[in-house]
Each structure stands twice: as C-alpha cells, then as structure tokens.
C-alpha cells in the first residue's frame, strides 16, 4: 500500500510544488492535503467529510496556517493518544529559533525549513522521502489505530 502522507499547507503553490517534488521522488506516496488546521484535525479524526480518511503514515505540517495554527495542530496531535505516534515533520518557511524550539517542545518529530530555491526544495523532499519513508521504521497502520501506548505487533 502506498505511503499515506498528510500535508497540512495553506499555500496552493507550495502544495503543487510539494506534489511535483514527491512525484519525481516516490510514486508510492498518496499525498493528502489539508489547507488549514481545522481541516487537518478533521482529517486526522475522520470527522465530517473525512470519515473515510486513511490514517497518515507521516504528517508534513506547516506552522503558519489560518484558523488553527500549525503549532496548535501539533499540540493536538501529540496530545491525542491515537495520533501522537504519527511522525509529524514540521515543514515551514520560518527558520526562527523560537519556532524551532517551540516545535520540538511540542514534540515535533523534526523541523525542516523550506529552502527558497527550487532545487534545494526538491532536494529536501527527496531527503524526507529517503529518510522518513525509506529508512525509518514506521509503526504499522493497524497498531497505530489501536490506542495503545506501546507499539506491539498486530
């Protein structure tokens, strides 16, 4: 099954760029997009129109979002027993120290700053793919659904 990636990003341009970048990198990736924090939470909680939403294997989260800010989303994710196991990668334009610190405090899995150059951006996406989706062991989806603190075998 393809890797389910939830991209929480409000800039359509960035969405498209990301999509293009992933397409060039790894075809076995299903990119889901939420344009703001509320939508992101609805997707994660499978509420409303997202009832049938799959559980993401990884979340790429921008910080500056309308309605519900990325930091809030991060907090919600990491407080929710059923969601906190999902690796959440902050992918944002800001490289401000305060943002970095806050994100890690909220237990972001890692923080990546979007490069301005296209090449660099594409390279970053490739890195994300290589690291998080190839090398890193992710918890199995089924067990992720079970609200158990210890990731056990299905």
């Amino acid at each position: 099954m393809a890797l389910q990636v939830l991209l929480v990003e409000d800039s359509p341009g960035d969405v498209r760029l990301t999509r293009e970048a992933f397409r060039d990198t790894n075809l076995a990736v299903d990119l889901h997009v939420a344009m703001d924090g509320i939508e992101a939470m609805a997707f994660l909680r499978r509420e409303g129109e997202h009832k049938a939403a799959p559980r993401p294997d990884i979340i790429l989260l921008d910080l500056n979002l309308p309605r519900m800010d990325g930091r809030e989303v991060l907090a919600h994710i990491k407080e929710d027993p059923s969601l906190k196991m999902i690796p959440t990668v902050i992918l944002t334009t800001s490289d401000a120290e305060a943002d970095i610190v806050k994100s890690y405090q909220l237990q972001a899995n890692c923080y990546l700053s979007k490069p301005v150059q296209l090449d660099a951006f594409e390279s970053l996406v490739r890195s994300i793919n290589e690291f998080w989706m190839t090398r890193v062991k992710l918890p199995q989806r089924e067990s992720a659904a079970v609200a158990s603190p210890v990731g056990g075998k299905p």
Partner: protein
C-alpha cells in the same frame, strides 16, 4: 623603749646598791663599834692587867726593897729601880688607858699617890739599910708601914679594878649587843638586798616580756602600718619632733609625681600653691613648736600641674614624758566635696563666658571676672545692682515671679534655651548677647545663674551668612534638627509663595511634606550627624508644596551648618519641574522610539518572512517553467524566464539579508561573557567550504573574553572573514586576527587581510545597507554583510572602522567591552 620599766630597773638597782652600801656601811659601823667596844674591853683588860702588874711591880719593889734591906745586894736595888720604873711606866699606861674615864683618873691619881708613898717607903727602907743597916731596915719593915702602904695601893688598885671590871662587864655586854646588832643588820640587810634583787629580777623579766610583746606588736604594727598608710586614699606623712618630714606614703608621691629626696624635710613647699604656701608654712611651724594639733586647708599641685584642694591635719605623738616624739599628718582631697558655695565661686571664676548670678529680685549677687571684662565694670560696681543695668530688657522680667507663676516655673521655661538679648556696657555701648539660664539653690533662696555670651561675632557671621543666603540663586532653607525652619531666603519665599514670617519656626514638612524632615531626625539607628552625613552632597528628589497647595518636584542638596544652638541643615532647593518635564519627555520619546524600533523590527521580520512565501512561488515556478519547458519555447522565452528567475532569486537573497539584518536588533540576545576565540572558531567552521576552496590561511593571536551575544559575534567574524576570502584577486587569502586594548580599556579587534583593498572614499559607504562596490558579475553578494557587522558592533556598544588602500588589503577594526571571566 619601755622607760617606765627602765626607771624601775634603775630604781631597783639603785636601791639594791644603796641597801648593799647601807648594809656594808652598817656592817662596817658595827664592826668599827664592835672593834671599839672590843678595844675598850681589851682596854679594860689591859687596865686590869696593868693594875695587876702594878701591884706585882710594887710587890716586886717591896720585895726588892726588903731584899736589899735584907741582903743589901745591889741587884736588889737594881731590881727595885727597875720595878719602880715599871710601876711608873704602868701608871702612865694606865693613865693613858683610862684617859676617858674621869673617875678612874681620879682613882689613879689616888693610886699613884699611894704608889708614890709606897715607893718612897721602899726607898726609905733601902735608904735606911744603906745608912743604918740591916737592923734599921728590918725595923722599918716591921713597922708595917710598907705593908700598910701596900695594902692601900692594893685597895686603890682593887677600887680601880672594880671600876674596870664594872666597865668590863658593861663593855662586854655592849660588845655582845653590838655584835648582835651587827649580825641582825647584816642578816636583815642581806635579806632585803636579796628581796630587792629578786623583785628587780622579776620586774625586769616582766618588763622584758612586755617589751618583747610590745616589740613584736610594734614590728607587726610597723608592717601593717606601712601597708595601711600606703593604701588609704589620703596622703600620710611623718615628721620628726622638729617638723622635718622624713616619710610620705605612696599616695603623696603618686599625686605629686615627686620623690622622697625632693620632698624630705621642708621640701613639700615645692608642691604648694605660691599664693598659699607662706601661710601654710607659718601655721604649721607654729604648731610644730607648740605641739598643738595642726589643721589647714590649701591647694596642692598634682603631677599634671593642676591644683586640688586638701584638708590637712597633723597630730603629735608623745613619749612617756609627754615630749613630742614625732608628728603624724594626713591630707584629704576635698576638691569635690568642697562646700558648694566656694566651689561654685571657683567654677564661676573659671568659666570662659561671663557669668552673672542674680536673685529673684533681679539684683546681681555674684559675677565673674569675664563679666567684669565684658561689661567694662568693676565687680563692686555691679554686685547688689539691678541686672537691668547691664541687660536693660528681657532678663529681669523673665525671672521675676508674678501672679501667674513662681520663679521656679518661670525659670523652668527658660532653662537651657539660649535667649538673645541686648546688653549694655559701662560706656553705654550696646552689644548683642545670648544668655543661658540655670537655677542655683542657695541658703537664701533660688538664684539664677546666667551665662552671657557676646554674640556680636556670631551676629556678624550670621549677617554674612544671611547675605550669602539671600544672594543664592536657589531657594535656601535652613532647618534645625527638630525639622523647623530657622532661616530662608527671598528665592525660597518666591518658590513656595510664602512670606518669610509665615515659614520661620514652622516645620519644614509644611513645604516639603515628605522626605526631608525624616532624613534629619536622629533615631535609634543613627545620630543626627550620621543621618546628615549620608545625605550631604547628594541631590535628593522630593516633592514640595506651595502655599496654594500645588506641588512641584524639587531637588534638595543638604549641607550641615554648625551653630551655637546645635547642628543646622542648610538645604538648597531647586525647582526641577522643567527638568522633570524634560526627563519625562525624554522618557516618552525613548519609549516611543523603543516601541517604534520594536515595531520596526517586528515589521521587518514579519515583512521579510511574509515576503518569502510569494517570492518562493515566483522563483520556484519560474524555475519549474524553465525546467519543464526548456527547449519547448523559443530562446526569447528562455531568456525572459532566466531574467525572471534571476530576479526572483536575488529578491530572495535580499529578503534573507534584510531578515538577518533586522534580526540583529530584534533577535539579539543579552550580552554575556563570551570567548571571542570560540566565536572565531565557529565562524571559521561555518566558512569551512569557502576556506577550503580558496585555501585561505586564517591565523589569530590569543583573543580575550568579551561581553557579547555569541551568535552575533560569530556572524560578525563570519561576515568580515567571508568578505576577506571573497574579495581576492585570486591569490591565497591570508587573514590575521588580533586584539589590543584601547585607552578606554575596551578590546580593539583587528582583522587584516591581503585582499583587494578599498578606496578610502568608500569607507563609510561600505557599511551602508545594500551598498556594493562591485558588479554582480565580479563578486557576488547583496552588500548587506558589513551593514550587519556595523549593526552588531553598535549593538554591543562598540564602533567599527576600516583601514585600507586599493591593492593593499584591508584591516577592519571594531571594539568590544571586556568580559568578566578570563577566556
């Protein structure tokens, strides 16, 4: 010496000797008498014997005459003559022996007559024989005349003998009696003598014991006496009977600081007061001579040169005959316990101020020499006079008891406070005085002592001071330690809107409600001096209140002022409303500036941040376009896209730099002790790529610890060294970093490179924002690097500059303050 005992012993001795002499004399007399008596006895015996011998001689004569008569032999005649001679000799002897006895003499004469007759007869016989012969002589003999004569002689002799015998008996009795007497006398005398000797011996022994005890006591006493005499607080001394002082106790020497050598005899005069010594000497001499107890009072000089008063006494010590043996004297210090009156007088005279003692009627009772001087009067001219004569107003009234209060009450109000009045001299000139009153109990009632001080000088000084005060540009207020206003100047009147009189004597709290009076008050924690000392010289900001109740900010500067009445505080009061306003304005401005800076910072940050996103879009998509449609469009399109992409990229870089620039201020951290060496190493680390690519050699001297934001310091080094590496003409960049101290004791960092160098006309421009000296094609960069450096350095309180010349490399210099810790 026990003279009594001595006398008795002498007496005993004398008696014994007398008695022995007496006994001796008596014995001698007795012996003499006995001897005489015996002699008389012997005498008598001799008479008796002589008488006997006479008889015998006569018988011899008789017989010899008869013999001759018979025999007619010559030998008989010779013997007869011899016998007669003997008889005559015996008669003479008897005469001598009985010379004292007239009775016997008489009888002797009778006897001698008879003897004579007998002898004649015997002679006759002899003569008859011779002449007539035998028969005639025999006839003569037969007549018996011779016999008869013989018998007459014998009876005369026996008469005499009887007398002598009688005498003998008497004399023998006498002798016996005398002997008995002598014996008696001797025995008695001896007994008496012995008795006396015994008595004497016993008496001597008793005396000896007594004396021994006395001596022991004396010895003990002497030691104790010395100890006692040296430990009493009085002085003690001893003089011989002539008044020659031979011993003083330790107290004397301690007080006078003299030695025995100096004081012995009459040397003590040296520590007497010259005015008194003569009368003391006269009086004591009189007593020494008369033996009367001596008492006197006089000053003695101590080792410190000061005189103290001593009550002195001396008593004579007599011997058993009543003669003065020595004198024992003491001196007691009565300086302090002296009768109040005279001591007070002494105090009065010694006082530096004029002192006048006045009774309740206002008349002068006593004054001292200072008062005489100050007022120009003689003592006699003032005693008994009303004090109004010298102090016309203000004194007498104060002490007079009236219906409202007694003198004591009246006085009580005045005591201790200095009252300023006007006094008048004898020459009628007046002068200002300050008087201080104190009561004095005396036998005659309450007296008032006034210490009078001429305050003309003070007034003059005050006048000068007042002048100064008035002339001062600031408001000046003089306050006493109780917090009341004592003096103020015209400026103060103006500032506070009061009239002078409304403020004098009032608490300073009326014009400075808080912060002033409290500072002056001595409390348990500190004295007024200390309280003041803390305030002196420092400007204190307080709030003052005008008469109309409005308040205004002031700054006061305190300084102490010594005055007669104690410490006063002069305060210079400056209205700082204007200054405060200015300060406030400044504060507001600064706040505004800060806020605006903050806003600006935020703005710059947000702006750059938010600008990034659209820019990314533009740049990214144009690049995508370029990539995806490269070759599919014509070459113009390619070129257009290239320009667009390039523009977008540059825009990005500019925004990044702007962001970095704005962050220097807004995201700057606190300045802490930072190792500049470590920062340099970090910067070189960040430049690793550029360093390796260019083969740059970066060296440095030991670098100090500075107060800095570490990240910014790294940025600073990074920018400068990055520039040094970049702006090269293709050689190996050689860069050296070092630091020296400048005159402000800050660190001056220097970074020297061997790069292109900079034309001096551009020195200030290069630190400007986005200023570049080269075309983009030559050297890349946005031109903000040095602006960022400048901002960083200025944020650290330092300054940045450059020394350079085209083709000769550049040396960038900047200052940073020293850190606390060693690097």
């Amino acid at each position: 010496m026990n003279s009594g005992g001595d006398r008795r012993v002498r007496l005993a001795y004398v008696s014994a000797i007398l008695i022995l002499a007496g006994v001796g004399a008596l014995s001698y007399l007795s012996m003499v008498r006995t001897d005489r008596s015996e002699r008389w006895v012997r005498h008598t015996h001799e008479v008796l014997i002589d008488l006997q011998e006479l008889v015998i001689s006569l018988r011899g004569v008789q017989s010899n005459s008869r013999g001759f008569a018979l025999a007619g032999e010559e030998s008989y005649r010779e013997s007869f003559l011899a016998g007669v001679g003997a008889a005559r000799r015996i008669e003479v002897e008897i005469r001598g022996l009985t010379a004292d006895n007239p009775g016997q003499q008489q009888r002797l004469r009778a006897l001698e007559a008879l003897v004579e007759q007998k002898v004649r007869h015997a002679q006759l016989v002899i003569g008859i024989r011779e002449s007539r012969g035998l028969q005639a002589a025999a006839d003569e003999i037969r007549t018996g005349t011779g016999e008869k004569l013989m018998r007459g002689v014998e009876s005369a002799v026996s008469l005499m003998r009887g007398e002598e015998t009688r005498l003998l008996v008497l004399r023998e009795a006498e002798v016996k009696r005398h002997f008995g007497q002598t014996r008696m006398a001797v025995i008695l005398g001896t007994l008496v003598g012995l008795l006396i000797a015994a008595t004497a011996a016993w008496s001597i022994r008793r005396d000896r014991l007594t004396r021994e005890t006395a001596e022991k006591a004396k010895r003990l006493g002497e030691g104790s006496f010395l100890a006692l005499a040296n430990n009493i607080s009085q002085f003690a001394w001893m003089a011989d009977e002539k008044g020659y002082i031979f011993w003083y106790n330790d107290r004397w020497f301690e007080y006078t600081g003299t030695t025995l050598e100096e004081m012995a005899g009459w040397g003590w005069q040296a520590v007497h007061h010259p005015d008194h010594v003569q009368r003391v000497v006269d009086k004591i001499k009189k007593c020494f001579d008369s033996g009367e107890v001596w008492e006197d009072t006089f000053p003695l000089r101590g080792r410190d040169g000061r005189y103290r008063l001593f009550l002195s006494k001396a008593v004579p010590i007599h011997d058993t005959d009543g003669k003065v043996l020595r004198w024992f004297g003491t001196n007691t210090d009565i300086t302090d316990s002296r009768d109040l009156g005279s001591r007070y007088r002494g105090l009065l005279e010694a006082a530096p101020d004029a002192m006048v003692v006045v009774d309740t009627a206002g008349n002068i009772v006593l004054l001292n020499v200072q008062a005489e001087k100050q007022f120009g009067y003689n003592r006699d001219e003032l005693v008994g006079q009303p004090v109004k004569n010298i102090i016309p107003e203000g004194f007498a009234e104060r002490i007079v008891a009236d219906d409202l209060r007694s003198t004591a009450d009246a006085l009580a109000q005045q005591i201790g406070t200095g009252i300023e009045l006007v006094a008048r001299r004898k020459d009628m000139t007046e002068f200002p005085i300050e008087i201080m009153l104190s009561p004095l109990e005396s036998a005659g009632g309450i007296l008032v002592t006034a210490a009078i001080r001429d305050i003309s000088a003070r007034r003059a000084a005050e006048g000068r001071y007042r002048g100064l005060l008035e002339a001062a540009p600031d408001a000046m207020v003089v306050v006493d330690i109780a917090g009341n206003i004592v003096l103020l100047n015209a400026q103060a009147e103006k500032q506070f809107g009061y009239n002078r009189n409304e403020l004098l004597g009032q608490p300073v709290k009326n014009i400075v409600p808080e912060g002033f009076a409290e500072r002056l008050v001595a409390d348990d924690l500190r004295s007024t001096e200390e309280a003041l000392a803390q305030q002196i010289g420092t400007g204190i900001e307080l709030v003052a209140r005008r008469k109309d109740g409005s308040e205004f900010p002031i700054e006061i500067m305190l300084s102490p002022l010594e005055s007669e009445g104690g410490v006063l505080v002069t305060s210079a009061i400056r209205d700082i409303s204007a200054r405060k306003e200015a300060e406030l304005q400044l504060l507001l401005k600064v706040q505004e500036l800060n806020r605006s800076n903050e806003e600006l910072g935020q703005f710059a940050y947000i702006a750059s941040h938010d600008l990034q996103e659209p820019l990314r879009m533009v740049a990214s998509y144009t690049q995508l376009l370029s990539r995806r449609y490269k070759g599919k469009l014509d070459s113009d399109a390619d070129e257009f896209i290239a320009f667009a992409v390039d523009g977008a990229n540059r825009m990005q870089r500019l925004i990044q730099d702007l962001l970095t620039y704005s962050r220097v201020g807004t995201k700057g951290k606190d300045l802490l002790d930072t190792s500049s060496e470590a920062a340099l190493d970090r910067a070189l680390d960040n430049l690793r790529g550029a360093v390796t690519d260019s083969g740059a050699v970066v060296t440095h001297d030991p670098l100090p610890s500075v107060l800095a934001d570490e990240m910014q310091l790294v940025q600073l080094f990074q920018n400068i060294i990055g520039n040094a590496i970049k702006y090269q003409k293709g050689g190996v960049p050689l860069i050296h970093v070092w630091a020296t101290r400048n005159e402000d004791m800050d660190w001056l960092f220097s970074v020297k490179d061997n790069g292109l160098g900079i034309d001096p006309q551009y020195f200030s421009r290069i630190f400007g924002m986005f200023q570049r000296l080269h075309k983009r094609e030559e050297y890349d960069g946005t031109g903000i690097g040095l602006a960022i450096c400048k901002k960083i350095v200025e944020r650290h309180g330092g300054a940045i500059s450059v020394e350079s010349a085209p083709g000769q490399g550049s040396t960038f210099r900047f200052t940073l303050t020293e850190g606390g810790q060693p690097s």
